[in-house]
């Protein structure tokens, strides 16, 4: 107050910006160097206790599992798909067959929730085909919305050979 009244002029306080700019640029360099662009990833949750096969006692509520056989060609590519022993042309048809079997309703206590799909894949089959098959049976995308189908998935024990 005393200053202002004595001089009658507004003082221009000059802040030294150099250290701040230094730190800011260092921060920016750090973020630029540590930046790692990663594609979003998601999971297919599977609960597979070892005793499941042995402990599965038949009861009235239980729906028999759907068996999906994935056979491999000589180079590990997909040779054929079969659902409960019936050949299926492709994964889209597999999805249609699953919908035909369990219906489109996937709410609580629905057939889709109770049904279990067991994958029997050849040892040499490329894993990408299994993920495609799991995608086909677990749901579909309709107008950007995911419609869930089967949630219980398991695998048969590996067969080398």
């Amino acid at each position: 107050m005393a200053r202002r009244s004595s001089s009658g002029l507004t003082d221009k306080v000059e802040i030294n910006m150099t250290p701040m700019i230094d730190v800011v640029f260092q921060l920016m360099s750090f973020f630029m160097c540590t930046l790692k662009v990663v594609a979003p990833e998601g999971d297919f949750d599977i609960r597979m206790p070892i005793a499941a096969a042995a402990a599965a006692a038949p009861d009235d509520q239980q729906v028999p599992p759907v068996r999906v056989k994935l056979s491999a060609g000589p180079d590990g590519s997909l040779a054929s798909i079969a659902m409960n022993g019936t050949p299926v042309a492709d994964f889209d048809e597999l999805r249609k067959r699953i919908i035909g079997l369990v219906g489109a309703d996937s709410g609580p206590n629905s057939l889709a929730e109770k049904t279990e799909v067991e994958f029997d894949a050849d040892y040499a089959l490329k894993y990408v085909n299994v993920v495609k098959a799991i995608t086909a049976v677990s749901g579909k995308v309709e107008n950007g919305q995911v419609v869930e189908l089967i949630r219980k998935i398991k695998f048969t024990p590996p067969k080398k050979g």
Binding site: L27, M28, E41, F44, Y127, V128, V146, P158
Partner: protein, 146 residues
């Protein structure tokens, strides 16, 4: 020359736009930075799926096993043969029991390469099952096409 002779001129640069821009850049990098501790190895080419949506919650203390195209497992940054992961899982199990956690409550994240053999993924699952683990998360890349 004429100017210089007239004494040093005090040229002031307006730093405000530059500082604004820099702060915006820093904010951008902070937002896009991945702070998650999820193990992701560039050697793995994950298969993609439209239904592999990122999980809502965070998986608590998962064990990540990454299967390469060549059939080896990357566990904690180390390359291990599939048949040898049992010993590492046994160690994980002991640690979990020490922390009063049950092995069946832990999730095993399987990040397998799309070109790997399915049988090897099944081998990993079988070894984990033998050690008492039963929750698995088969990881895939989220594909939003179509």
């Amino acid at each position: 020359m004429a100017k210089r002779s007239g004494g040093p001129s005090n040229t002031e640069i307006d730093m405000t736009p530059m500082i604004d821009m820099t702060f915006q850049l820093i904010t951008f990098f902070m937002f896009v930075m991945n702070f998650s501790e999820a193990e992701q190895d560039d050697r793995i080419q994950l298969p993609s799926s439209q239904l592999a949506k990122p999980a809502d919650g965070v998986i608590e203390k998962p064990i990540t096993l990454q299967l390469t195209n060549a059939g080896s497992v990357i566990y904690a940054g180390e390359l291990v043969a599939v048949r040898d992961i049992g010993a590492y899982l046994e160690r994980e199990k002991t640690l979990m029991i020490d922390e009063n956690r049950e092995p069946n409550s832990a999730t095993i994240i399987v990040r397998a390469d799309g070109r790997a053999k399915t049988g090897e993924v099944q081998d990993i699952i079988r070894i984990c099952q033998e050690k008492g683990f039963e929750r698995f998360a088969l990881r895939a890349q989220y594909d939003d096409r179509r």
